[in-house]
Symmetry: C2
Subunit: 211 residues, 2 copies
């Protein structure tokens, strides 16, 4: 199965600004991307990057500086996916992804398999229909289900906390620190980012920042 990992490094992870500097946010995006690539490889897959510019991640890469939706749709139009030649699109910020979680995704049956993200997003897809196209704006989970329905394509939803956790906001770093299987948790700890335990949900803290 073709596995495409889109990564934009134009202004990566701007909502992590309370905790990480611009250079750190870019570095963290790369660390997370490497973890996603490793998880896919350990699931027996051969991931390739779809990047806005060349990055230091050891995987085959296509450079496409268009916005995410357009770049992914160009891949789908070119690939013409079907049951025999599915295409998986796995976001580069899924720092909780494990080989098991990726295997559950790619092994799920369906013309379109969707792993929803928090807040209505789409964190991972498997496409087995040549006409399905993505639209990552807004409530894309809902829109992708509707798009599958309009094609009479079967849609399957994968119920995974790991794949639902894209790392956009400081609160998401809690999940990386607690559940990340790769290099990202250690990278954060080395920079002083740690859990802040009080009442209610756990947060993160970093000396000298707002986080």
């Amino acid at each position: 199965m073709r596995v495409v990992v889109p990564l934009s490094v134009t202004r990566p992870k701007s909502r992590l600004a309370p905790v990480l500097s611009p250079a750190e946010r870019r570095a963290f995006a790369l660390v997370s991307c490497r973890d996603v690539v490793d998880a896919a490889r350990d699931a027996g897959l051969d991931p390739e990057l779809l990047v806005t510019e060349h990055v230091d991640v050891d995987a085959p890469a296509t450079v496409d500086d268009r916005p995410l939706t357009e770049a992914v749709n160009a891949v789908l139009a070119d690939a013409e996916p079907d049951a025999d030649r599915p295409v998986c699109v796995l976001m580069a910020d899924l720092a909780l992804a494990t080989p098991t979680a990726v295997s559950r995704l790619v092994d799920a049956a369906g013309d379109v398999v969707i792993a929803p993200g928090r807040g209505g997003g789409t964190n991972a897809l498997v496409v087995r229909h040549p006409e399905f196209r993505v639209d990552y704006h807004g409530a894309s989970f809902r829109d992708h289900r509707a798009a599958a329905e309009s094609l009479d394509a079967s849609a399957t939803v994968v119920d995974s906390m790991r794949l639902s956790t894209d790392v956009d906001e400081p609160a998401d770093l809690v999940e990386v620190l607690l559940h990340g299987p790769g290099e990202a948790p250690g990278w954060l700890r080395e920079r002083g980012v740690s859990l802040s335990v009080g009442d209610g949900r756990v947060g993160v803290t970093r000396p000298g920042t707002d986080g």
Copy 2:
């Protein structure tokens, strides 16, 4: 398997105050609890409530007005769970729970099976060890893994977005509206709570409130 659903109605869901009035928060807590009970029943289980006072939910109930940790530990001390007589503890606010998700939880092997919640919590447990006790304060997911380890008990983690989503904050209502399988999404819509779609993660809005 014994399935205990703890529900506190002392000051339920106070962090939903931007969107729901106190009376509505209590009513929503009961609607969510009924959805959890239905999901467990449809998974072939026989759930019972552990409540701080009598509530209008159609299920056998034990009233215990102590804090959650103490009340659950009293159940575990009394039950002396083991592999033949496991005890499942399923939070009443898991409004995304489906029979499939509950089945994945109760069917998972392990002396202690944990479904982590967002922000370091523990949303559901299966206990098959007589000495395991809970502590829901702070980063309970981490603490429960450590508690299992200290007993030489095997610990299994269930990777489920549905079970990871306890509904505490307005952002969590997005997940209920998009993914809730029971009555809770319709209950919210009837009160004018709807998705707010802009850039980034989807939020919720309700005319006349801060939400």
